[in-house]
């Protein structure tokens, strides 16, 4: 059977899921705590692409989505799956912005202004 027009629908990759266990915002940082080449080789192409791209440095969910060419919704679900087994580390979010964070941002921006 020719595979020329073979295509995977997004809901196949996510098994129909659109929500994640933990909230993953567009700027949430994701990294690989320890890289496992054997594990990577066994992943589906999309998951592998995300895993490899988060390997060298922490990247945001939006960056991973853009770099891997995978839609934001699918990226979220697949990242969440990898994080559930501790293959990816989701860096804690400041869903509630705190004062100390703002101070650090202010000081950093002042250097650029």
């Amino acid at each position: 059977m020719p595979l020329r027009y073979w295509k995977v629908r997004p809901y196949v990759l996510t098994a129909g899921r659109t929500r994640t266990r933990t909230p993953l915002l567009v700027h949430t940082l994701v990294s690989v705590p320890y890289y496992d080449a054997v594990f990577a080789a066994g992943l589906l192409p999309e998951a592998r692409s995300l895993y490899e791209n988060a390997r060298r440095a922490a990247r945001s969910v939006a960056e991973l989505s853009a770099v891997c060419g995978i839609s934001l919704g699918v990226t979220r679900v697949v990242v969440d799956d990898l994080a559930a087994t501790d293959r990816l580390l989701v860096h804690s979010d400041h869903d509630n912005v705190d004062f100390r964070l703002l101070e650090r941002l202010r000081d950093g921006l002042r250097k650029l202004a």
Binding site: L25, V26, H27, T28, L29, S31, V32, P33, Y34, R55, R56, A57, A58, S60, A62, E63, S65, A66, V67, L72, L89, H91, S92, D93, H94, D95, V97, D98, F99, R100, L101, L102, E103, R104, L105, R106, G108, L109, R110, L112, A113
Partner: protein, 201 residues
């Protein structure tokens, strides 16, 4: 600290500022001016497909627009990264705004004094539909402020508590000052940590 740059460091923090405003006010330029990575967007994809949909003034030589995600990155420190997210300009992408604004430190609403009406929807959104602190910023096309800021404030019917500033979206330090205004405005609305909370860290 040296270990903060290692991928396994648990200390990394990210923050986000949303860059909003009407279609063609310079959001992508603004993100690109200060981002350390080329602004990631899908402009090229949009160019041909939207020609008949997104009509621009003949006076404005803009041939592409931002369809979905448009963002830049700014490393503030070894353990802190600031992301800038440009909102999709056209009303049909509005469902994405809630998603982009969730968890944002603040928003910078760009305005073009030649077409203020283009930024009305963005101002409305942050005034009524969002808790994200926002600052309105006149983009100085050609580097000149064409109208006094007080007139712009009146034209936008902007309440006194919303800061109004101006910047040149092409100039990195000018954009940094505008972002600084957003952060300072957010600070004024965030309770300071009490002494007890600090000691608990």
């Amino acid at each position: 600290m040296a270990s903060a740059s290692l991928p396994d460091s648990p200390l990394l923090t990210s923050a986000k500022i949303v860059i909003a405003g009407g279609f063609g006010v310079g959001k992508t330029t603004c993100v690109g001016a200060i981002s350390e990575i080329p602004p990631v967007n899908t402009e090229a994809w949009m160019t041909a497909a939207s020609e008949t949909v997104d009509r621009l003034d003949p006076g404005i030589d803009k041939t592409t627009t931002t369809v979905a995600m448009d963002f830049g990155r700014l490393t503030i420190g070894p353990d802190l990264v600031l992301y800038l997210f440009g909102t999709p300009g056209q009303p049909r992408f509005w469902p994405m705004w809630d998603d982009l604004c969730r968890g944002a430190v603040g928003a910078l609403v760009l305005a073009d004094t030649r077409d203020l009406a283009a930024s009305f929807p963005a101002v409305n959104y942050f005034e009524q539909d969002s808790d994200v602190p926002f600052v309105v910023c006149v983009n100085l096309f050609d580097g000149v402020l064409q109208h006094p800021l007080d007139d712009v404030r009146a034209a936008l019917a902007l309440p006194a508590h919303v800061p109004l500033t101006a910047c040149d979206a092409r100039d990195p330090s000018s954009v940094a000052r505008a972002l600084l205004t957003v952060v300072e405005h957010a600070m004024s609305r965030t309770p300071r940590p009490t002494a007890g909370a600090l000691a608990a860290r």
